[in-house]
């Protein structure tokens, strides 16, 4: 009988431990949120959104140029990455039989796993070096190479989830294959596909490693895509490791803003656009 109780005890004990594990993992998010809201909330003010950075040692200033710069870089990445990713996703879902599509799919998966800093080196080699200067364009190229594989994956996934009967219905009515794809299949999956794209954009908007030596940084407004451009993640990095207390304060403010944008995009994409279709990359 004692053996029986022992087994019961182990059962209860181990499952309590697993519950503790899950609770710990969830608590980390609230710890992060709490820390950022506490430190960032105190540091955030209107100047942060409207002012340029001040030189080291001077108090005040903001990161208006970095906010706009981040938007510029992400826009470039989206303009390059979304169409390519989408069309390849369509190819894999609709024409994706045989060994060539399998190879493309596997390559996209592997690209997805390449460290983002390596993508930075790639963009440095193909954009910064030929143009002899750091630029928002180079940063956008680096981020687009990160965006393409995730867009491919989610587009394919959601197009494949469209029922066969819808395609067959369109074909039976005499539509050509591409017409059934463009007018029936893609519209049916558009919410899921858009969710995937928003999640992909949210991910690249937080990247800093590939921007360090592509878009670099800038104390002032960047007037063209061909100039070095400040971005919010890189500013957080530079400010956090600096020795100035006022820069630390602003790093917290920037961290809070970045995290808020991140969480809003993520929750918005998952909850509003595709209820119940939470996916993983």
């Amino acid at each position: 009988m004692t053996h029986h109780y022992w087994r019961k005890l182990v059962n209860g004990l181990m499952f309590s431990l697993t519950a503790a594990c899950a609770l710990t993992a969830v608590c980390v998010l609230f710890w992060i949120l709490g820390f950022l809201v506490w430190n960032g909330g105190r540091a955030l003010n209107l100047d942060f959104f409207t002012q340029l950075p001040k030189p080291p040692g001077e108090l005040g200033g903001g990161m208006a140029n970095a906010i706009v710069g981040s938007a510029q870089i992400v826009l470039v990445a989206a303009v390059i990455g979304i169409p390519i990713g989408f069309l390849v996703g369509v190819y894999l879902a609709e024409f994706g039989m045989g060994s060539f599509p399998f190879f493309v799919r596997y390559t996209a998966d592997l690209l997805n796993g390449v460290p983002s800093i390596v993508m930075g080196i790639f963009a440095y080699a193909i954009v910064v070096r030929p143009l002899h200067r750091f630029s928002a364009l180079a940063g956008g190229v680096a981020l687009s190479v990160i965006l393409i594989p995730t867009t491919i994956r989610t587009t394919e996934q959601f197009l494949r989830a469209v029922p066969r009967t819808l395609r067959e219905g369109a074909l039976a009515l005499g539509a050509s294959k591409w017409k059934s794809i463009a007018t029936i299949v893609v519209p049916a999956a558009i919410r899921g596909v858009a969710t995937g794209m928003i999640l992909g954009i949210a991910r690249i908007a937080g990247e800093s490693a590939p921007l360090l030596f592509t878009s670099f940084g800038n104390q002032y407004w960047s007037t063209s895509l061909g100039n070095p451009t400040a971005s919010l993640p890189v500013m957080i990095f530079t400010y956090a490791i600096s020795p100035y207390a006022d820069w630390h304060r602003q790093a917290w403010a920037a961290g809070l803003v970045l995290l808020a944008v991140m969480l809003l995009l993520n929750m918005g994409a998952r909850v509003v656009l595709a209820p119940g279709a939470a996916h993983k990359t």
């Binding site: 019961k8 390849v88 996209a108 796993g113 393409i148 957080i236 970045l258 993520n266």
Partner: protein, 327 residues
């Protein structure tokens, strides 16, 4: 879609003719070729990536050969580049991360798939997946201002007093170093382990659990001796994916690793990792050989993560295909 709009004008409904031209005119072949072209561009991008990494690091390979990976003197001023301390630091921080995150992640995944009611499980999984979306520079920010002070005092001195007889817990406590980087990496990769392991566990057929329970096993015994072994390939795959992430993670590690190229037995000691040295020195590299050495480090990192990823993907693929109850 501008592309399909443009195509629709040329798409006449002549489906009887069978020549290539006619098929192009109905649009099917054109759509196929267009998307095929973009699909091929993925292979081109991947090829170009490998080529750029390879060709831009030729100088370093020619000058140092295999010594690049085997020596530990990194002196940009003297033109001496040995990458061993960075490789060591990358591996050690990743191992620390896995040692901490695997038990935690697996435990949480078991709870979420086997014990928690579906509603709670989905809600918690949602929160955990949000963690995966937090940018790494924010983890770095927290590590610098919250984790490092805690490690400097009291955690590392405490570990030193209690476990000081083990070499990895010896030496002065700076706060920054292998342990700090390992802990922040563990926090960052746990969501991946949880979410992929949970998927694999959920893919285990219910009959497997019922059979074990019918034989008199407790719920834990059925989970540990039947369900987990059944899902092992997926779980191992998730661990390898986490490892690949940890190896390539840059920002958070760069902020707390201590930026000291040395090989130290103690986890309290400051070190350096491959991504961190690329991040710190790339824009400051003045000589061509320095840049070439940094790009070769990038190549090493690339090959390391590609091999691990390829392995992990195959394993995850193998389990999720086998399951029957997967939604």
């Amino acid at each position: 879609m501008a592309v399909s709009a443009a195509l629709s004008e040329s798409g006449a409904p002549e489906r009887t003719a069978d020549t290539l031209l006619a098929r192009l005119r109905t649009g099917d072949e054109a759509a196929h070729l267009l998307t095929l072209g973009f699909a091929a561009s993925i292979l081109l991008i991947a090829g170009l990536l490998v080529w750029e990494l390879f060709s831009n690091s030729v100088d370093a390979r020619r000058k140092f050969g295999l010594d690049f990976l085997l020596t530990s003197k990194w002196d940009p001023v003297a033109g001496q580049f040995g990458a061993l301390p960075f490789i060591y630091g990358t591996l050690i921080t990743s191992v620390v991360a896995l040692v901490l995150s695997v038990p935690l992640g697996l435990g949480a995944a078991i709870f979420l798939s086997e014990l928690a009611p579906p509603r709670i499980s989905d809600a918690l999984t949602f929160i955990i997946e949000l963690l995966a979306a937090v940018p790494s520079v924010i983890y770095g920010l927290l590590a610098v201002f919250a984790l490092v002070p805690l490690l400097r005092d009291p955690i590392q001195p405490f570990l030193g007093r209690v476990f000081g007889f083990v070499p990895i817990f010896q030496g002065p406590s700076y706060g920054v170093g292998f342990l700090a980087a390992g802990i922040i990496l563990a926090i960052m990769v746990v969501p991946f382990i949880i979410s992929i392991s949970r998927e694999s566990l959920l893919a285990v057929p219910t009959e497997q659990r019922e059979a074990a329970l019918a034989l008199g096993a407790t719920r834990w015994e059925s989970t540990w001796h039947v369900v987990v072994p059944y899902a092992r390939l997926g779980i191992i795959g998730s661990i390898f994916l986490a490892l690949a992430r940890a190896l390539g993670e840059t920002m958070a590690v760069t902020m707390v690793i201590g930026n000291t190229p040395q090989i130290a037995a103690s986890l309290f000691a400051p070190g350096y990792t491959i991504p961190a040295v690329i991040a710190n020195e790339f824009t400051e590299a003045t000589s061509d050989i320095h840049l070439s050495a940094l790009i070769e480090l990038g190549l090493v990192l690339f090959l390391l993560t590609i091999v691990i990823n390829a392995f992990a993907r195959l394993m995850v693929l193998a389990t999720t295909k086998r399951g029957t109850t997967h939604p």
